[in-house]
Symmetry: C2
Subunit: 479 residues, 2 copies
């Protein structure tokens, strides 16, 4: 039973004291939403106070919205996380609303957009929950002692073997399990790489690009330089001039422009790396699984003969963003050095999930899952593009790079500039990032003549596409 401390802060009487402490326990999450409180009688007995005292405290909490009562069932905690905290306490100086606003609440940060092209959650229908449960149960049933042992820094051997095999079959990469390092999301891998290469090195990132990568390098104490991309990907002359030591690129499919790096540019970037011992390339292959047309491209690491390319990929895009398993492939020659320096770490991913994922891959379910998701995304994309092309937007729009990956660009010929259009879309509860949002330098990429939007469609709801396109028309055309 919940306990009330009568020793402190109870100069205002028992009822006030009980009221205040229950309120605190609700606001700080000690009492859970919809949790049943003790009956008035038993609570009164427990605290040694009168039933009327409890009744008054409960009544006040109900009137303020902290509790609700169900007849003949009792008193329950209101689920404040789903509702607005009611504005009940204008009379109180130390109002709960004020207390609340002191604290940043990520889980309350709900987007109330009708469609959000920034969000890329996976559709929950598409995750094979029951299959996963089945495999997990099978893994846990083995009672293997390794399930409970400390995991080596690079992860569970079975998972690394499974990934090596997968990379051979699907990416034509001939790597050994020993070269693979399992991480908890790519963040933990970037942190390790900065610790390995050194924070005295200069890290180049693509401009425009995925800002999170730059931010992680910077938070790890390394200097970052954005290098412009052109129609072949990162510009090798500018890279040379930047004095960068390490470069982060996504040659298979640049985010957000969708540029695929041609062979000539790949060779230039590899030569750049070969010019100095300290130069390395981080190849981010984040959505290569979702190329819809054409043969998958060779990875840069495949073409690398001088142990210069670290290959990175993640299961967050293919399985779910809540699924924190990523991996990198180190060139064979640096493996020993890497473990000499960072081998003392424990792998951050739970052994249960590593063994389960290994089974998932080995039994061919991962390959099938990719095919299923590819179909799902292809339909979603075609549906969206068809409706856009049938809409009034088509007359002033051009869709770019729609061949690859989970996003495409929508370039508009509109008298309004991008920010203004974005604002109008948001008034219609549609959020779409602008290409210019991904530039590190502000004078590039988005002039009033050609506002370009990045449509990351993987998380949108199919049944909302018509209405979404209609709202886009309203925002873009009628303005």
């Amino acid at each position: 039973m919940i306990t009330i401390d009568f020793e402190n802060r109870c100069e205002f009487g028992l009822c006030e004291c009980i009221y205040a402490q229950i309120k605190t326990q609700i606001l700080n999450g000690t009492l859970l939403p919809d949790e049943k409180l003790p009956s008035k009688r038993s609570f009164a007995e427990h605290l040694g106070v009168s039933v009327i005292t409890i009744q008054n405290a409960y009544a006040r909490l109900i009137s303020e919205g902290y509790l609700y009562s169900i007849e003949k069932k009792g008193f329950f905690v209101t689920n404040l996380s789903l509702e607005e905290v009611p504005d009940f306490s204008k009379d109180s100086k130390n109002s709960p609303a004020e207390n609340d606003s002191k604290i940043f609440l990520p889980q309350f940060e709900k987007t109330d957009f009708f469609t959000d092209f920034r969000n890329n959650s996976t559709s929950s229908e598409k995750f094979p929950f029951s299959l996963w449960t089945h495999l997990m149960r099978k893994v846990l049933k083995t009672n293997d002692e390794r399930l409970l042992s400390r995991i080596p820094a690079n992860g569970v051997f079975e998972l690394r073997k499974a990934i090596a095999k997968y990379l051979l079959e699907f990416r034509n990469m001939n790597v050994s399990a020993e070269q693979i390092v399992i991480g908890a999301g790519t963040e933990s891998l970037y942190t390790m790489l900065v610790q390995f290469f050194g924070r005295d090195k200069l890290y180049a990132v693509e401009n425009p690009g995925y800002h999170k990568v730059a931010k992680i390098f910077e938070l790890n104490g390394a200097a970052v330089v954005p290098v412009d991309i052109d129609e072949s990907g990162i510009n090798s002359d500018l890279l040379e001039k930047s004095s960068a030591d390490v470069v982060h690129i996504s040659p298979a499919h640049h985010f957000p422009t969708g540029v695929v790096m041609p062979v000539k540019r790949r060779r230039e970037i590899l030569s750049w790396a070969n010019e100095s011992e300290n130069r390395f390339i981080i190849e981010d292959d984040y959505d290569s699984e979702f190329r819809f047309n054409g043969k998958p491209l060779q990875t840069l690491q495949n073409a690398d003969e001088n142990a210069k390319v670290i290959y990175i990929n993640t299961f967050s895009k293919t399985l779910s963003p809540s699924f924190r398993i990523s991996y990198m492939v180190l060139p064979e020659r640096i493996v020993n050095d890497f473990f000499d320096r960072l081998g003392f770490y424990s792998c951050p991913v739970s052994a249960f999930e590593q063994f389960t994922l290994a089974e998932f891959i080995n039994q061919g379910f991962f390959g099938k899952h990719i095919i299923r998701m590819k179909n799902y995304y292809r339909n979603l994309r075609n549906n969206l593009i068809n409706q856009l092309e049938a809409s009034k937007i088509a007359s002033i729009a051009k869709i770019n790079e729609e061949e690859a990956g989970l996003h495409f660009l929508l370039k508009l010929n509109s008298p309004l500039d991008g920010k203004r259009l974005q604002q109008k879309l948001e008034e219609h509860k549609i959020r779409i990032p602008l290409l210019s949002d991904f530039y590190y330098t502000k004078n590039l990429g988005d002039t009033p003549e050609n506002p370009t939007f990045v449509l990351n469609y993987s998380g949108i709801q199919k049944e909302r596409i018509s209405e979404t396109v209609r709202r886009m028309e309203d925002s873009i055309i009628q303005s």
Copy 2:
């Protein structure tokens, strides 16, 4: 079916080529241990070569130990990770043994100790696998969309609420879910803290102490200063003199000495922190759950009124080292600032496990598990200590601080110094770390007069205790 590339490196004929490529695929883990190879006939058809070519290649692989055959069943890959790679290839210049030794293989690093007091795996009998599976299945069945959504930087709300409630009940800490940050092992939390406090700060660690913490601070680019402990824990005068900004301590139970910090010293350390805005304390409560006697001590964060103490704990000690979930409790006042700067991270722990652990705690299973493990460890410890006290070692030994936690100290009055004794123990396949191993400065703690061993007993096998003590006698007394 596996594919052989005849284009490259096949100047030695088809058989040699097939042999070499299968060998490579076995060594790099592409072909899995005990995986069945295609039948000779179907493989020959697939590759368009004669059956005799395949037969010769298979025969050579069998003679060298890479494959084994089972009559009427076929050909299978040898599990090289469990056996020594056979020394078959003296005739070959580029021997697999040589190739192998180039690469560091953490999973092969098997300790062949009879008993290892450094290892602290949990006993696999003690993990409630089927209960866990049941809860996981229940969680996955909810099909909750949050299972597949990006997780906020501080983790799943339900788990943070469950931890807040647990901390109130078991540690008498009144904290809100908003103050809690979920991490993947404490490593990820230390990394975040260095990024938050800054790597220009000086970090003090306990001397002797757990070296991993210092190493993580250093790898994150921060300077570390070891500060000596005395009979009350970290010495506050020395801490003041060290010019440290942030100090990492384990007041509930110092590792490895077992010192419990008394109230007076706690107040001194808190005053130290209050003297400057930049000073902070990281309180590592890593094994407070396993105090066997007496009431659990108040946490330092409980006594902190100035938002100076970050509390850290982990489920790796209580559930399993392979279980990568840890958490920290931020003082309310720094929560906003923390998320402003680091809130862009994704929480590194899978949503599946976070929701499952929340259920595990909320339904009271975690509390019960702790009680069960406490009994298990108490028995293990009593058994070991009783046998040590009944042995010949007792006459020259003193057991220190046996009241608390998962390790105790064995101080010996021996003419031999610690290193020599350690060597003799290792000859008997017993590994025990010395107290002096945990000092950062070498002239302290272990003189020839009093070699002191740290017995971390949580991972040892009960049925081996008698034999272990006998071997310890042989090493220590007969020498």
